[in-house]
Symmetry: C2
Amino acid sequence: LDNRPIGVFDSGVGGLTAVRALQRLLPSENILYFGDSGRAPYGCRPVDEIRRIARQDSSFLAEKGVKALLVACGTMDSNALGDIVENVTVPVGGVVRPSAEAAAAATRNGRVGVLATAATARSGAFGRALAAARASLTVTAEGCPLLVPLIESGHGAADDPALGEALDEYLAPMQAAGVDTLLLGCTHFPLVSDAIAARMGPGVTLIDSGAEGARACARNLAEAGLLCGQERRGSSIYYTSGGTDAFARLSALFLDAGGAGPIRGVEPFRL
Amino acid sequence: LDNRPIGVFDSGVGGLTAVRALQRLLPSENILYFGDSGRAPYGCRPVDEIRRIARQDSSFLAEKGVKALLVACGTMDSNALGDIVENVTVPVGGVVRPSAEAAAAATRNGRVGVLATAATARSGAFGRALAAARASLTVTAEGCPLLVPLIESGHGAADDPALGEALDEYLAPMQAAGVDTLLLGCTHFPLVSDAIAARMGPGVTLIDSGAEGARACARNLAEAGLLCGQERRGSSIYYTSGGTDAFARLSALFLDAGGAGPIRGVEPFRL
């Protein structure tokens, strides 16, 4: 039994999809979240920068004494998981492998779609993880450079016309390929899952990479005997390198019980 | 007389609006262009990163022996012009002051709109430059975080629906304020000026910050006796830290005579 907090981080608010899932799965755990909104989005940065950012973000939480890290960011996980594992001494999990395994288990026709940021799509990480989870899947992957900027600039509502135009473009290859399972490979994307589901129809299963990452994290903690021993409800503390007001506003869209709190501002780390 | 090239740089292809204007104004000048597409867009980065990037980009061209620098990027100019001036020994000009002066001269009703990236809008640089150019202007400024991602991901066509949705949002405050002059404060935005003009109507003058920066650069070179002495047509060389193919394709939308050439790839500088 281990009462230290679980560390979760992402480029911004997207990783809160994983936090919400963790809070539901393991309500007595304490959580430290870091959302690097002051440097978001990561998806348009070169790999060299993503890897250095990964070390900085993971060090920030490791130094606060977490017992495990959940990399709740598809861009980080697919480009820099090895750097993070090397950088900290606690167990590290991500979102790519758990969600690829969930998608491989969910598909009936063997056709899986992946929506991700440009950097994640370029990395090919989801394709490799899907192939490792189950041979002979047909994978259709699409880089979606506009979705994070749209969501983070307030265009995440299901009926937002600009969001609709972007989704129509990104989903057309998924529909053409006949996927029955669509992996949301960026933890921001569940925020627009209603708009995606409306376009893909009820026959398509959406896989939430943040929630799958949280499930795998919970499983790994249990197996390692690292779950906390307290009976009372755990507390969560949120750090952001962007504005705390904007973080509070966006977090309310992701989290139960009206959003995040307490939220603490930190200066963006110098690359 | 001075036959060294003029250096021009931007986060990506946007600064080519200034290059085209320079090539038309001063056809015998040689030009070195650097488009930092491998690290674009700059507009979502923290100011600290923008300032360090400004030093790297300006050093790259200064070391190639340019006689003057044109900072053809509203984000750079508004956040880091002082760093660039400090960093190089040649004359440096930007786009903010020249285009603010052009807008102040063009407006009849004293109401000027500014469209810029998020970082430029936050800096307030255009507002200060407009106030310096002419007191008692009413300025309506809008940060437009989606326009560069839209343009750079292939959504720049005048009839593009996603572009249209974003422009409708960004132009509504301009129409409500009754501006008669609209300053395109990011050198990417002239690429979508047809779509902007169609929405604003013929009574509104659009100011192209890249072209105004080029005009001021030509004026300053002439006054300093730094124009080149050759009679033949000058040559332009283009460097990009992104893919050369993507740069070639996008450049054709900006430049006369079918686009840029020769284009040379360089590795993105390490921040």
